[in-house]
């Protein structure tokens, strides 16, 4: 089995982490799944493995450091600090979310056949895996009430977008990816602070309680 043949198992693992994100209700497990997804993504730009330029290796290292180490630590720290109520019921249950995720996968596979993508741009399974990851992020943002889960959804959607850019990173877009990574890092940092404030004001991180706001 060549190294290049590892790409498809990697993409299937990514699709499975999406499914796991959709069926998990515990925030701690979600954060660990997020770290796993980040670690998988860090390897994606390395395919095909022949002739990896230095800036690309740097990008992969940065992705691993931020998505697989920094974000999970930041989110776990927030989770520990706010002493969150773990019983925030989502708008859509885990079963239906998983069904929606599978629907997203079906749609991505259908769309891949319809889009006029230059042949050979996307490795097999990259397009559906990336689009499914974006859908997973959207489903998490829309159907969950827990503010931390919504941040994880935002990160999942960003992961999908990053994966779309991965095949282009050899043509010099790696610097662009790095700057986006910095933006996302700042974004998550700000969201952590925002979650602290939400928790302080509403005594919960249930965004459903925003409806109780009055003038």
């Amino acid at each position: 089995m060549t190294v290049a043949a590892l790409f498809e198992p990697l993409m299937i693992a990514l699709i499975l982490t999406n499914l796991a994100l959709l069926v998990t209700s515990r925030t701690g497990v979600l954060i660990r799944l997020m770290a796993l997804q980040g670690a998988i993504l860090a390897f994606a730009p390395l395919f095909p493995p022949a002739g990896v330029p230095t800036h690309l290796a740097l990008l992969c290292l940065a992705v691993f450091a931020i998505k697989a180490v920094a974000f999970p630590r930041l989110l776990s720290r927030t989770l520990r600090r706010i002493d969150a109520d773990s019983r925030i019921e989502p708008y859509l249950g885990e079963g239906l979310s998983a069904a929606a995720g599978i629907g997203g996968l079906l749609f991505s596979l259908w769309l891949e056949g319809r889009l006029p993508v230059p042949p050979g741009l996307f490795a097999p399974l990259l397009f559906p895996a990336a689009l499914t990851t974006i859908f997973t992020g959207l489903i998490l943002v829309v159907t969950r009430k827990n503010a931390l889960t919504q941040v994880i959804g935002y990160l999942a959607a960003e992961n999908g977008i990053f994966l779309f850019g991965a095949p282009l990173s050899r043509q010099g877009s790696a610097w662009l990816e790095l700057s986006i990574l910095l933006d996302v890092f700042v974004g998550v940092f700000v969201m952590g602070i925002a979650i602290h404030h939400i928790n302080k004001t509403f005594e919960s991180i249930d965004v459903g309680r925003f409806c109780t706001l009055r003038d």
Binding site: A5, P9, I12, I15, L16, L19, V23, A99, I102, L109
Partner: protein
Amino acid sequence: MAAMFLPRILAALVLAPLLFAVINRVKAIFAGRQGKRLSQPYRDLLKLARKGAVYSRTTTWIFKAGPVVSLAAIAAALALVPLGHLGGTAGFTGDFILAVYLLALARAAVVLAALDTGSSFEGMGASREAAFSALAEPALFLCFLVLAASTHGSTLDAVLRGTALSPTEPELALVPITLFIVLLAENSRIPVDDPNTHLELTMIHEVMVLDHSGPDLAFIQYGAALKLWLFCAVLTGAALPPLFGNPWLDFAASVAGVFACAALVGVVESVMARLRLPRVPKLLALACACAAIALILTLWR
């Protein structure tokens, strides 16, 4: 055909109770105990077979028929499942549908027998067993569909060719995982059910068979052993390709694979607690989702 059929079915009929002994031995090793003798399940069956049966006045012929129908249906299903690429199965199109529904018939017989006792307690167990198996069945069918789509076969013999761990089709690796979850659920093992529990609020399968005694209970326990063998054989058939090229060596490897599955069940039972009842449907739904993803990706390829 008979030459190939006999060793497969004889191995199942003779060695099936040994699977329980293997599971118990693995659990004992994990717990630092010596464990029961490997022959204990056989001794239990013999002891039960020698005893007389006690029947409540509430029960009818359904209660007596339950264990017999169940054992016969499971044995018939077992005859359809290949082992070790030896051939010798009836092998007609869609035989896996018959195999799955024979298992459903076996379950229905035990469920009816449990309801026939008129005990609300057994009715509760029957309801849980029926509900969980209804969720496990789609996962099992989806697994067969994935294998059928990938091998272009329509019989169990053509489908269970050990293709599930091929590196060229990584999505097929989800099939053994799903099959293992279905195995645990269908055979009432931890984390779905605990075969050793007698805590009435959490019992599922064991509560249904509380009123059976003597030879009837022996039939049910032997049927459970055959069912465990059947699922281990399906799992081995899906995951273990022909290794040696010699049918008899491959058969021996598959029998070893069946016992390896039992050992794996023992490991799972040793390292996991059982799930809370409301979480069991989620586990089975996850199994269905895994199989569905495997099917989608197989069809896409």
